[in-house]
C-alpha cells in the first residue's frame, strides 16, 4: 500500500483551540482601550462637510461641542424643524443664546485648571446644509464671551474637490 492512502485514512487532527481565549482577550483589551463612550446624545442631525486642512483635537477635557442642525425625528414635535443649536447635551433656543452661551463657557471653565483656560476649544459640528446666519450668531456670542479658539469639525476628504 502506498503512503498516501495510509495518511488519508486517518482522521483529521483537530486544531487546538486552547489559545483562542487569549486571542479574543487581546482583541477585547484593544477595544476596551480605544473605546470612547459617546458623551452626548445627539438631538440634532449633523453631517459635517469634507475638508482637507485638518488638525486633530487633543485633550478631550478641553473641548466642548456646539452642534447645529435640524432636530432628529424624536425632537421635531418639541423643537420644530428649523436648524437648532445644541451645546454638549442641551438644546438651546436661538433667542436664549445670549445668556446660555456665556454660562455654558463659564461652566466649562470651572472644570478646567486656570492655566489651561486659554486652550479651551469650541468644536463646531455643523450640518453642511445649515445656513451661516445661525452659525454667525453663535460665533458672535463666543467672541463676546472671549472664547476665541474654535474648530470647524470636518471629515477628511478623499477624492477631488467637486
Amino acid at each position: 500500500m502506498s503512503k498516501f492512502q495510509k495518511k488519508r485514512g486517518k482522521t483529521t487532527p483537530a486544531i487546538s483551540t486552547a489559545s483562542l481565549p487569549d486571542i479574543i482577550f487581546m482583541l477585547l483589551f484593544f477595544f476596551m482601550v480605544v473605546t470612547v463612550m459617546r458623551d452626548a446624545e445627539l438631538k440634532v442631525t449633523v453631517v459635517v462637510p469634507d475638508a482637507t486642512e485638518l488638525t486633530k483635537l487633543e485633550r478631550k477635557s478641553l473641548v466642548h461641542h456646539v452642534y447645529i442642525g435640524k432636530p432628529t425625528a424624536k425632537f421635531i414635535p418639541v423643537y420644530g424643524t428649523k436648524p437648532t443649536i445644541q451645546l454638549n447635551d442641551k438644546i438651546v433656543r436661538e433667542d436664549r443664546i445670549k445668556n446660555d452661551i456665556p454660562l455654558f463657557i463659564e461652566q466649562h471653565k470651572l472644570k478646567v485648571p486656570e492655566n489651561q483656560h486659554g486652550r479651551i476649544t469650541t468644536s463646531f459640528r455643523v450640518d453642511g446644509k445649515v445656513t451661516m446666519g445661525i452659525v454667525q450668531d453663535v460665533k458672535t456670542q463666543l467672541r463676546k464671551s472671549g472664547q476665541l479658539r474654535v474648530n470647524y469639525s470636518a471629515r477628511a476628504r478623499a477624492g477631488e474637490l467637486k
Binding site: 481565549p21 462637510p49 485638518l54 445656513t131 476665541l148 479658539r149
Partner: protein, 193 residues
C-alpha cells in the same frame, strides 16, 4: 477495584472552555460601542469682540484679496465670478506674486485675504472656501520650509507641520496667515424651512 473517593472523581480544574464565550460577549459589546473617530477639523482663532466700529484702514487695493460668497453659494473673487476649485492657486499667486505684477500683493506680509459671506450661505460652501484659503497658506508654508531648510525634513509628508517651533515661527513671520472675516450681509436670511 478499589472504590474511588468522591473527591477524586470531581475534577479539581475549573473548565476554561467557556472563557472564550465570555470574552466574545465582552468583545462584541465593545465592538458595538466603539467610536474611533477622533475629532478633526479646521482650527481657527476668532478676533476679539470690540464694541466700537473698526476704523476703516486705507489699504491698497492690490493688497486685498476679497472673496465674497452670496446666498446662492456663488463666489465673487476680486469683483469677478470664480469657482472654488481655482481659489487655491489664485490665493497662492496673490500672496507670493512671483511675477511682481502690479495688481497682486506687494509682499506676503502685506497681503490680506478678506472673506465675506451672507447669512444665507450654506455652511458647507463656507467651509469649502475657508478650507481652500487655508490650504493655500499651508502649501506656501510647505514650499517655504523646503526653501529655507532644504533636506532637513525630506521624509515628512507635511514639511511645515513637523518642524520645530522656532522654524515654524520664522516661516510664519515671512508669510503671516491673514484671513479676515467681515460681518456677513443678510440678503438671503433663512426663512421658514
Amino acid at each position: 477495584m478499589a472504590k474511588k473517593s468522591a473527591r477524586d472523581r470531581l475534577s479539581n480544574e475549573v473548565s476554561a472552555g467557556s472563557m472564550a464565550d465570555i470574552a466574545f460577549l465582552l468583545l462584541i459589546f465593545f465592538l458595538v460601542t466603539t467610536t474611533i473617530d477622533v475629532d478633526k477639523g479646521i482650527l481657527i482663532k476668532l478676533p476679539p469682540w470690540s464694541e466700537e466700529e473698526p476704523d476703516i484702514q486705507k489699504l491698497k487695493d492690490r493688497n486685498v484679496f476679497a472673496v465674497l460668497v452670496n446666498a446662492q453659494n456663488q463666489l465673487l473673487v476680486r469683483n469677478e465670478e470664480a469657482q472654488i476649485k481655482e481659489l487655491r492657486e489664485r490665493v497662492k499667486e496673490f500672496i507670493v506674486n512671483p511675477q511682481r505684477r502690479e495688481d497682486l500683493s506687494e509682499k506676503p506680509t502685506k497681503a490680506i485675504i478678506m472673506l465675506k459671506n451672507d447669512r444665507g450661505t450654506a455652511y458647507e460652501t463656507y467651509l469649502k472656501v475657508y478650507n481652500e484659503l487655508r490650504a493655500a497658506y499651508n502649501e506656501l508654508w510647505d514650499e517655504e520650509a523646503e526653501k529655507l531648510y532644504p533636506g532637513d525634513f525630506e521624509k515628512a509628508e507635511r514639511k511645515f507641520e513637523d518642524m520645530p517651533f522656532a522654524y515654524r515661527k520664522a516661516i510664519r513671520d515671512k508669510i503671516p496667515l491673514v484671513i479676515s472675516e467681515a460681518e456677513p450681509t443678510a440678503f438671503g436670511e433663512e426663512g421658514a424651512q
